[in-house]
Symmetry: C2
Subunit: 456 residues, 2 copies
């Protein structure tokens, strides 16, 4: 008989993972290495040290250690908001009339409003440990920038954030949160960097993109002594830190003897998805268990479902390393209609390799359908989701409805990455019927693919 | 030896209180009854039934039962976001270098962003149980309106919210959250009610006040069949529902054998303070324990510290019952400089009586000092507090600093009522040095007292 499962499964703070799980150690085919954009040769640790902190470079390149201990200082910070709850969506199940059992791992119960804090605090810790003055970064929807501001404030580091201009304008209050944590925030592209001025000259009036903002942040980090660049997604090190999400999820499910049938996560650069699925994918790779693993991405920025698996620049300015990933081309900028995050043109190399090798599925969803799911979820589960998170909700609901049709009592786990308190402009558009969907045409994508670097 | 106390003490969902605690049952002097504004006689249950749901009227008038069971449907809803954490502020203690032990009960981990949901869901439940179509209410900072929207959405009730105009304008996104939950939101004073039109005629261009908004909401509830009025603070029933905060706090402290020296809460109408202190005050009233209990209010709306203990109208339009309370006069409107909530001219009759009888202290604080405390707290504890909550933080920090001076390791518990994500306009003003303090002059208050009803 099934044990009575509470609404929220909270692990004790002593049950916080002691080590992150490094999925790459269990991958039969490792993700392709980052390439130096000049030489097109795999980047060495020494070359990467100019951009990232040393300890993070080691994590970035580590493909052998399955577990990497979490330093005590980071675990102490985690204790302020972790373990995060795994919630049984009883009310949503009831409303859908589905036999499916739905769980979500809720990462929004911290001021950054998302899971991004898990990696921000780790990256800030290593920067501090190395004796740096500060870090630079980019932010799209603003969650990563907020998380990093909080982390830098905690460790007394300077924090410079380049925020995608369209988000900066759509989310005026995000800037104030970052300022509360002492960060400086610049809308990108800006005239404060060489690459920013170049992009502005070529695309006057552009709303910017993550790719542009990355170029600017990297330039500032490499030009200013005592600074390094940090990134909130895509990188191996980020997926490593985010594995805390999946490890907690698995521990909470194991506590009640629950085995999920499918795990669903939204995918932009892959930080949440990669973290959520890590231990489950590990079991799958080791042949110990099988799960459906589903990445959900916006139809307006469909790197998995319509991108090329190819080497590409991680940034628009083409000053960053090349990564082999599913990409829409580094010049791709999502339509201004697109609200919220999940706007990166590429995807984590780790997830790209796993997808390429058939270990996971991907679907794309249109944003009006996403906001419908967001509102439905908010009304019954009492949490106002971030638009990013609502991509996963959309597919979780769709799968639960399928279960209703087939009568199957499947167990669905999805990642609820964060809250939507700073996305009310988008919600307002949705309420007023002013939200539209935009799907890039094949021609547009082809034009972007034509500009992929010649290394492929 | 002291047991190791975790960063966050989470009770299990089975430890959720089964009953609310009705503080009045233990009061030697009961709060004075509400009076009919026409007859100046104590209001009967029958008279109150026209305004409030029947079950809530019974709770409002109940001075004998110390415990009132929480219906299962309400407990189920509570389980979506309760028990809320009691957090040990280790990082704040360390930063202050204080021997004091600081705890805060955090009520912000739900989409309404505050403790208001505890009473909203109870009031919506009883309205539904009575077969009503919907409810009307007012909201100041917007937390109560959001909470009620969520609760009404859950039970399928119509929800009409009159929002103080100045807050409506300062917090455009609050409206969108309420709309997400299906509520209709009207800035108050409005031309949709008779009393609203009257107030507009007398005070053209007014930014409104809670008192105005209450008048409008009550009018709509009494004019439309199938509707009742609900209120998020001040009332006995609200304090009753909010006792869940204090009961959980006490249970969490008892678990670790911790006995607080002082309990600090912000006070507007008294909903959070009354709930937080309830079981502690009960012990004090029964002579079983002693605690310092401190109410913190804005210097710009100082009902405890500078108000009169007198019968007064609860609303500006003078259509509501009279309550004997600490009041600044029902015509008092806080300076437009005042950010956030805690802007009600009066105070819970229960808390007023307790304060009058010497069972608690009160202090007032100026808002720039409040925002300094808010930012300091955010940076070390990782939670961006609501301005309301930051009043309690201010005094908790002040008391912890006193401990540093005297070397006393006192245990301080304060209520962190909610998050400040919708208060970024105020934070921005603070960051830009554009925030000012305003303390009403004695003459202004005297003019307001001169208009108190003649029943006193």
């Amino acid at each position: 008989m099934e044990q009575q499962i509470p609404y929220k499964i909270y692990l004790d703070e002593t049950e916080l993972p002691n080590a992150w799980y490094n999925l790459r150690a269990d991958m039969p085919v490792k993700p392709a290495p980052l390439l130096n954009p000049g030489t097109l040769q795999p980047l060495t640790a020494q070359e990467l040290d100019g951009i990232f902190c040393e300890a993070l470079v080691a994590q970035e390149l580590n493909e052998t250690d399955a577990y990497i201990p979490i330093p005590a200082e980071i675990r102490d910070f985690y204790k302020m908001y972790r373990p995060s709850p795994l919630v049984r969506a009883y009310c949503l199940e009831k409303q859908l009339g589905t036999p499916a059992k739905i769980y979500y791992k809720f990462e929004g119960n911290n001021t950054s409003g998302s899971h991004k804090l898990n990696s921000a605090i780790a990256q800030a810790y290593y920067a501090k440990e190395q004796g740096l003055k500060g870090v630079t970064t980019e932010t799209g929807a603003g969650q990563w920038g907020t998380a990093l501001s909080m982390a830098c404030s905690y460790f007394g580091l300077d924090c410079k954030v380049f925020m995608v201009k369209v988000s900066y304008e759509q989310k005026p209050f995000r800037r104030e949160v970052m300022r509360t944590y002492g960060a400086s925030v610049v809308p990108s592209p800006s005239d404060t960097t060489e690459v920013g001025r170049k992009i502005l000259a070529e695309h006057p009036g552009t709303g910017g993109s993550l790719g542009c903002a990355i170029s600017e942040a990297v330039e500032v980090a490499t030009v200013n002594p005592g600074y390094r660049y940090v990134l909130g997604s895509v990188l191996n090190q980020v997926l490593l830190h985010q594995s805390v999400i999946g490890l907690e999820t698995k521990a909470a499910l194991d506590k009640y003897g629950v085995k999920p049938d499918m795990i669903i996560g939204c995918a932009g650069g892959g930080s949440n998805l990669g973290g959520l699925i890590a231990p489950f994918m590990g079991e799958k790779l080791r042949g110990e268990a099988d799960y459906r693993i589903i990445a959900v991405e916006p139809a307006s920025c469909p790197s998995f479902t319509r991108g090329r698996f190819a080497y590409d620049f991680c940034d628009t300015g083409m000053i960053c390393p090349l990564a082999k990933m599913y990409t829409l081309g580094s010049g791709f900028i999502p339509s201004p209609n697109h609200a919220g995050g999940l706007r990166f043109h590429g995807m984590s190399t780790t997830l790209s390799q796993l997808y390429h090798d058939g270990y996971m599925e991907a679907v794309s969803v249109e944003q009006t359908k996403v906001f419908e799911a967001a509102e439905q979820f908010a009304r019954v589960e009492g949490i106002l989701p971030a638009p990013e998170s609502a991509h996963a909700i959309r597919v979780a609901i769709d799968e639960a409805v399928k279960c209703k049709e087939t009568g199957e009592a499947k167990t669905i786990v999805f990642g609820l990455t964060g809250t939507g308190y700073f996305d009310m402009v988008a919600y307002q558009k949705f309420h007023e019927g002013a939200m539209s969907d935009y799907i890039p045409t094949d021609e547009e994508l082809q034009a972007s693919f034509d500009r992929l670097p010649r290394v492929n």
